[in-house]
Symmetry: C2
């Protein structure tokens, strides 16, 4: 009898769900709304009903389900306790136990950023590697570290907080985290635009990205690909900040490869190449020549990684 | 019948050996010379003979020996293969297999810096913690990372190369590793003195450390403790470089504590306090308030850690 597993990625607006074969092939994927009312008390019930409906629809029996993996937007301890998920209204409780009781299935939970890294390792940009680091360049800059096929959580669930590595010692503005000079201030989608506006204000040089009130990171990469000088300068500086931060990461955990994801990574190889260039300049010989890959799963990384959680003992 | 384990720390000049109870109490410790002739082919034989003599001397039977842990000065893969130990003349071979055949005992091997970290976790400055980072400030700056009671080796055995994290972007001189601005250039015993000479050359200010042709890191700490202004400035800068590098380490692996060892750490709490101060300024809120401890085992960390290797499955 074919065995299956579910991957559930609980976000602030929608819950993404995937039904997988044990080898990582997706059978189906879908979304349900995240009901946040009454401190999110209906969320797990809604997920359970959705899983059951899917099994019925596909004519699968519950005995075929090996387990359910869940990614949540907040820290999760190794026993499955969530330490508040502000975005969902959740307080402290053991989500593995709770959802296990509801469904009578094996349940494994993890932080969503870390779970996404596991997904990229399993079926995405890091496929075939066992030690990798996912860097997500989106609204913020997140990270997930996989060592020997397992998520590294850290002693307080804060491992892989790559976005808050200090990369500029002279920064005057504060990061969202309160300190100054964090990678996130330069390498998030908003950070990239902020740096562009700083550069544009400092010079009169003509540029394709000037006078664009809705300037985005994509505009800057597009202009850089066309040879726009200021945009190329911005991409170079972004690569320097990221390359430097990832050189630190490498000196600590020595991964096989880095996978770059998030909206900003749609820029493609221009991004991985400039990161790699600055990375190589900042690592000792023993850490040179690592792989830099683009993430492949986009918003589905979470459901893949959640499903992969089930495969661990 | 009482169970025992041996910890062996093979260095370029001497082999340190310890006989331990399983709870980490040392029964005896001693040294033998490292015979490096003929590419170090006699080293393992010498160690075997020394272990057997000790068992005979103490009237222990070989059945009581749970195993032997070995720390070697070079990279070791997870299956026990040493990838050349230049200091010993060794080429590539599996030291666990080889010494296992010689002794008919269970043998586990690891890199000496990592093994020392394990020793400090087991019976030293990191006792009671399961996730810690040892930073060794000696001739060079080394590191060892322990996660969930286990050594982190990294994909090429280069995890924990903390000494080669870039901390100064403007450095003109090259580190031994070839790149510029490595932590080791400022925080090793020689780096500290070099920084002192730079500072002394840049100012006419009177100082207790001026005109000392055999200036050491200890002299600088001693003068700082007496309130010498230039020495205090040097200690502050050292703390800044170390605090910054350890803030990066924390953002990656989120350990419970840092343990500072090596000759420089004899300076004591003045050192851990100035590191902690700069560390706190450079980490995000989730990573604040980590413990900073002094290493306790000195040159014995290696034999403790090697013995501790035997306890792992």
């Amino acid at each position: 009898m074919e065995q299956l597993c579910f991957g559930v990625d609980i976000g602030g607006t929608t819950v993404k769900i995937g039904l997988f074969q044990m080898d990582g092939s997706v059978i189906d994927k879908w979304e349900i709304p995240t009901r946040k009312e009454e401190n999110g008390r209906y969320i797990l019930e809604d997920v359970k009903n959705s899983l059951n409906s899917k099994l019925a629809e596909k004519n699968y029996s519950k005995d075929q389900v090996e387990g359910v993996g869940i990614g949540v937007p907040g820290p999760v301890t190794s026993d499955g306790t969530v330490l508040k998920c502000v975005n969902l209204g959740w307080d402290v409780f053991n989500v593995e136990e709770e959802f296990g009781k509801l469904t009578e299935l094996k349940v494994k939970a993890g932080n969503d950023a870390n779970v996404a890294a596991l997904g990229e390792m399993w079926q995405g940009g890091g496929k075939g590697y066992h030690n990798m680091v996912l860097v997500t360049l989106g609204t913020g800059v997140g990270g997930g570290i996989i060592l020997d096929d397992k998520i590294l959580d850290g002693s307080r669930g804060a491992a892989g907080e790559i976005g808050h590595i200090t990369v500029d010692y002279d920064e005057k503005d504060a990061c969202n985290c309160g300190k100054r000079g964090c990678l996130e201030q330069y390498a998030s989608a908003t950070g990239i635009v902020k740096e562009a506006n700083r550069l544009l204000a400092s010079t009169d040089k003509a540029s394709a990205i000037r006078n664009n009130p809705s300037l985005t990171a994509k505009d800057i990469f597009d202009a850089a690909k066309e040879g726009d000088e200021l945009s190329l300068e911005l991409v170079e500086k972004l690569g320097r900040h990221l390359g430097l931060a990832l050189s630190h990461v490498s000196a600590v955990v020595d991964p096989e490869c880095f996978v770059i994801g998030g909206g900003v990574s749609k820029a493609g190889e221009i991004l991985t190449e400039v990161i790699k260039k600055h990375y190589e300049q900042n690592v000792m010989f023993a850490l040179k020549n690592k792989e830099f890959k683009l993430a492949l799963l986009g918003n589905d990384a979470g459901i893949y990684g959640a499903a992969r959680l089930v495969l661990d003992k």
